[in-house]
Each structure stands twice: as structure tokens, then as C-alpha cells.
């Protein structure tokens, strides 16, 4: 299941919903991405971030997230998957994204969850503007994200 929404979500409630009544599940792996209060690789080097705004491409976003989810379910035996991505204005500490995969086996749950976020990072049409003391700027895509996503190619 995929959801694109402005509102916050409750990871515990989503986890409970994903596993409810399914006793074939042996493990569930979940990743939650949050708004950090600094840009770049390290707090000491980065400018303070006061917030960000996530823009997306309605329609294409849902289409791409559904394709990523379908690919995960093709590659691994999964009992459930969930992708939630927010858009709009967010403050430091706010949740941005949740991906989760449930499976009979822990390794499949881990791999699928990792794959979901890596592919989402390079394929889902979202763009971040960071609001800093020095002004607003569009976040640039990172080559490292392409490298991480590339692990799952082929």
C-alpha cells in the first residue's frame, strides 16, 4: 500500500495495521525518515535548517511509488508492504517518509525495506526546498543516493 499525504502518520499504528491478523509474518522491517536540523554530511559543517518544503508531482508520485512497491513484491516473498510519503512544509524532527516490509523471513523483510527506500530516493518525484538563515535553496540530489540505488539494479 502507498500513501502520499500532507498530514503526519503514526508509525506504531501503521506497523500494527500491517501485521494485524497475519501470523505468517516472522519479521517486519521499518524505516522512518525525519527532517534533520542541519544540511550536508555533518552537523558541524552544515548550516542550520529551520524547516523544509516538499514539492511533488501528483499522479506521477503515486504511479512511481506503486511501481517501486510492486518491484519489491516481485523480488521478495512479502506478506505486506507500506510506503507513506509526506509533502508540504515540515519542521526539524518531523517525519517525512515511512517504508516497511513484512515477511515470513527477516532477511527478506530487511532487503525489501532497504530496497524500497533506496529506490524511492532516486525515483519518486519529490523535491526539497530547505529553509535556512541564509535563505531558501533547492536540495541537490546526491551521487551517493544513485550509488546506493544502483546496488539493486540487474
Amino acid at each position: 500500500m502507498i500513501r502520499v499525504q500532507r498530514e503526519d502518520f503514526d508509525p506504531g499504528a501503521e506497523l500494527a495495521r500491517l501485521t494485524a491478523g497475519n501470523t505468517a509474518i516472522g519479521g517486519i522491517c521499518l524505516f522512518v525518515g525525519l527532517v534533520r536540523d542541519f544540511m550536508g554530511e555533518a552537523a558541524a559543517l552544515g548550516d542550520e535548517v529551520r524547516g523544509m518544503t516538499l514539492e511533488h508531482y501528483p499522479g506521477m508520485t503515486e504511479r512511481q511509488l506503486e511501481a517501486i512497491e510492486a518491484e519489491a513484491r516481485r523480488r521478495w516473498e512479502l506478506e505486506g508492504t507500506l510506503v507513506i510519503h509526506r509533502h508540504g512544509r515540515l519542521e526539524p524532527g518531523d517525519r517525512i517518509v515511512l517504508v516497511a516490509a513484512a515477511s515470513a523471513h527477516r532477511e527478506a523483510a530487511f532487503q525489501a525495506c532497504h530496497f524500497l527506500i533506496d529506490w524511492l530516493k532516486t525515483k519518486a518525484p519529490f523535491w526539497k526546498v530547505e529553509h535556512t538563515a541564509a535563505g531558501d535553496h533547492w536540495v541537490e540530489a546526491r551521487a551517493s543516493d544513485e550509488t546506493l540505488a544502483g546496488r539493486w539494479e540487474g
Partner: protein, 83 residues
């Protein structure tokens, strides 16, 4: 044909969306980009370096040799930064 611009491309073009009717010889994305750049200095600036622009036709990623036709939804945007 509907053309959409996102993130800094929208800022440069000055609009997020427009209906265009390119001439019949504009049959692929590459030709569409060339034709759009003639529409305004903003268009020309946004589409100046296609190495930093991604494109989609009907909500799927597409290369510059991808065909385009009347009725398509075409989008231009920077590499994505969600998650």
C-alpha cells in the same frame, strides 16, 4: 499537449504548467525541448543544461528520444530529492 515544470525549473520558467501546440515536426522530447526554449528567456534558462534535468512523458521517466504527441502530459524537473 500539457507541459509541467517542477522545483527550480518552475521558478526559472515562471509557470508550473502550460498547454502548448508545437508544430508537427516536434515528434520527440529532444525536439520539444528545442522548441520550448524558443518560447521565452525563462524557458531557455530552465532547459539550458539537460544533463541536470529529468523528463517524464505521461508520468513515466523518458529519454530525449522518447516520442511525444498531442494529448501527452510532459514534465521537466531536477533529479529527485525525496525520502
Amino acid at each position: 499537449m500539457k507541459v509541467l515544470y517542477f522545483a527550480w525549473l518552475r521558478s526559472k520558467v515562471g509557470i508550473g504548467e502550460e498547454e502548448v501546440a508545437p508544430p508537427p515536426e516536434v515528434s520527440d522530447l529532444g525536439a520539444l525541448v528545442a522548441w520550448l526554449k524558443t518560447r521565452s528567456p525563462g524557458h531557455a534558462a530552465a532547459l539550458a543544461d539537460m544533463a541536470v534535468v529529468r523528463a517524464a512523458v505521461n508520468q513515466d521517466y523518458a529519454g530525449l528520444d522518447h516520442p511525444v504527441k498531442a494529448g501527452d502530459e510532459v514534465a521537466f524537473f531536477p533529479p529527485v530529492t525525496g525520502g
